[in-house]
Symmetry: C2
Subunit: 207 residues, 2 copies
């Protein structure tokens, strides 16, 4: 844990501010959590912080493909906080069935430690957004998840198969993720389907 | 320029979608733009994409320190797009007066190339947000700039002087940035002032 500087700001509730700083200093560690997939240009693995940024940008850019009435500001906020639990739990590769079994438990423990660094009202809000994302029961959460699922597909296509080829993923396994994209956005689901068809023709999946 | 996959998604305006994809694939390059400052843990230099994510998170966490009526959703959106011009223009160190002279011109050229990758309506929106940030004439832009200025100060304090010591920055130069923070948020300005006082006592500035 990185403690905030021992300074006193005048005219501010310093206890509250220090809780916020403690959370933000800890959140900085998300920049060191590596995902399996590469950047689009293939130069290195992506980290979860820069991934979260690109998702926020993607959600806004693709806003018109969300079901009518979807609150894109809430989607953005959700995407900004949704990966913070990976600071403790690490990134779980989307096709890793062994670690997927313990993922929920590890992420819950991470949420229990990380969000309460914030003042109570803000901790509750962050937790709520993360749980909403995980449950995928609202249009906002389903759209956020669609954008999150599409991103590594784009990176894989542009890396000539990327993690699909490297870790021997089948078309059937990928199509299960495409289904989740379609649940959040018909248009993005349609695009993901076309992308997977093309990737299949190019031999990017394990037979 | 990375071209989107040559695929056709049914039920979608593919020309429009491809323009959006072209922009998002290009935006991915922000992950490779390095800033001068280190991560809070000092392990490596920060890139502009992960920096933008941390700013979005900080703006929401510090929302209560923005002047009443500030639209934090707009601040968040602004912070998500504000550094994209660095893909072409590079990051200009905040105390680099030589490159600061050409910075505005380089960034304008970058904006002229990058935002029009998007469909026209979205390009106009992104350009407007970037120009609003640069002009700093609205409460949203001033608050976004305050959060952006505070971030490297935190990183420097936690790296025992960081870029201040490394590049021989004086207290007077840093106080000019603190003034900008105060213009966006009285509370964050007060905190930045206390932080600089403490950094000065620790010998983190050039005399």
């Amino acid at each position: 844990m990185t403690e905030p500087a021992p300074v006193f700001a005048s005219g501010v509730d310093n206890e509250r501010l220090n809780a916020q700083l403690r959370f933000l200093l800890e959140a900085d560690k998300l920049k060191r959590v590596l995902r399996r997939n590469l950047l689009v240009d293939g130069s290195r693995r992506e980290n979860s912080a820069e991934h979260s940024w690109h998702l926020a940008l993607s959600a806004r850019t693709f806003a018109e493909y969300a079901p009518e009435g979807t609150d894109i500001d809430r989607v953005t906020e959700m995407l900004v906080v949704h990966d913070i639990v990976e600071i403790d739990a690490g990134d779980t590769f989307v096709f890793d069935q062994v670690n997927a079994e313990t993922q929920a438990e590890r992420e819950r423990a991470a949420a229990d430690r990380l969000f309460p660094l914030l003042p109570e009202d803000q901790a509750a809000r962050a937790r709520e957004l993360w749980e909403e994302f995980e449950a995928g029961a609202t249009p906002e959460a389903r759209f956020a998840r669609a954008v999150d699922r599409l991103a590594p597909m784009l990176a894989n296509w542009h890396n000539e198969g990327g993690t699909w080829l490297r870790f021997g993923v089948t078309r059937t396994e990928v199509m299960a993720k495409v289904k989740l994209i379609s649940e959040g956005s018909e248009a993005l689901g349609s695009y993901a389907t076309a992308l997977v068809d093309d990737a299949d023709r190019r031999g990017y999946f394990r037979n």
